[in-house]
Symmetry: C2
Subunit: 228 residues, 2 copies
Amino acid sequence: MSAGTKPPRTAKPAHRRKRSGQYAGKSAAARDAERRARLIAAGIRLIGRHGYAATSIDAICAEAGLTKRYFYAAFDGREALLVAAYESANRDYVQAIMQAAMPHLQDSRRLVHCGLTACFEWVAAHPDEARLIMLEAIAVRGQIGSVYGERYDEFVSMLVGFTKPFLKQQSPSDACLRVMAKAAIGAIIHLCQGWIATDFRQPAEQLVEGMERIFSGMAKELGVAERA
Amino acid sequence: MSAGTKPPRTAKPAHRRKRSGQYAGKSAAARDAERRARLIAAGIRLIGRHGYAATSIDAICAEAGLTKRYFYAAFDGREALLVAAYESANRDYVQAIMQAAMPHLQDSRRLVHCGLTACFEWVAAHPDEARLIMLEAIAVRGQIGSVYGERYDEFVSMLVGFTKPFLKQQSPSDACLRVMAKAAIGAIIHLCQGWIATDFRQPAEQLVEGMERIFSGMAKELGVAERA
DNA sequence: TGAAACTGACACGCCATCGTTTCACAAGTT
DNA sequence: AACTTGTGAAACGATGGCGTGTCAGTTTCA
């Protein structure tokens, strides 16, 4: 609030003295961040494994090896943790896909193939995180809805932006392109949901191939050039 | 259990005599069914409006104008009601789409158009039911998972079956076709989810057009004939 | 060394929900 | 009429999570 970094001039003798906050070799902020990270990690594990509804704050604290005190110091409540966990996992997910796709911006087929492969591989490699962002967080109202909404719209815009250079002159309206982009995202998420729910039995290559054909069809429909 | 329809020959005077079960002009089975239906309707309303997590059994009973006694007579618990509500709403949904699509089995373009239009119109006309089957039921483990799984696989098979007559000779493997069908379903569901979450602001025609283009692209990719 | 802050573990009161049970009354049967 | 069954409302004990508070012990710093 109005607490400056300096102690007040009318210093009480030894009271209210400035403290470095060092403890166990770490600064206060570092300790807070570390605890927060442990809570988020524990939350992802438990929510991903047993579901959000079945995950209590006590259980999260036990999993993290911390007590409730630190939970309430870091989060307002259960949903705040869910939001944080969602954002953390989702960032990882998008980043993994981006990293795999970015080197192939010039070749649409390879772009799609590498992006899809990275997507499904990440899901299989991070089942808890995937469950969280693709199943558990869907129905949760409140905060997540808005966060999801904002980031999501940005992401859709980015996808459309990436695609546009490949398009012919008379392409459909932006509204239509956005709908198609959302549809493609939904298709992938839905496949992942089913894949997760059936314990990854189906080989990832089949999923990649199916989605590649969908994208290939969209390319045919929109009349894309092979290179921008 | 072993209670026959006839009273035992050694009839106790007035005890254990056969009762019609009539009450308020209805048979026992009819009253049970009516109560069950009212509970399901109340469940759909409340879950669709406030979410599954925020809907208590007490609230459902109050909404239905019944008491908990009848709830536990009809369902084992909250999740059993959710399953019943899900099945009821989902049946309505699929039926509405089928009814709109069946008359156009010969014309793939019209088939797709009418099916999609019916789909989005049903969602807009039944927001509570749509929320329930597309958002709330997703994350619920347990019973719904399996129900969803069985029906869903059948539905995918049916879709692939409908499509096959239109396909060229060398079409992709069945596994691939099934993946593509699931992807299309996921695309539609995802669009509906976003549409619901934004209070149906976007005109339905835009959603239909976007999905039509997706299907058109799939048709191009698979090389379908205009008529079977 | 002494004071203050930080830590970890536990205990408390609160409250909502669950699932069952009880009870008086209404509606039917003989 | 008498007697049984169905009904509706309420009460009940049990459970479990939530959010806060307490307290002894440890680490840091003057």
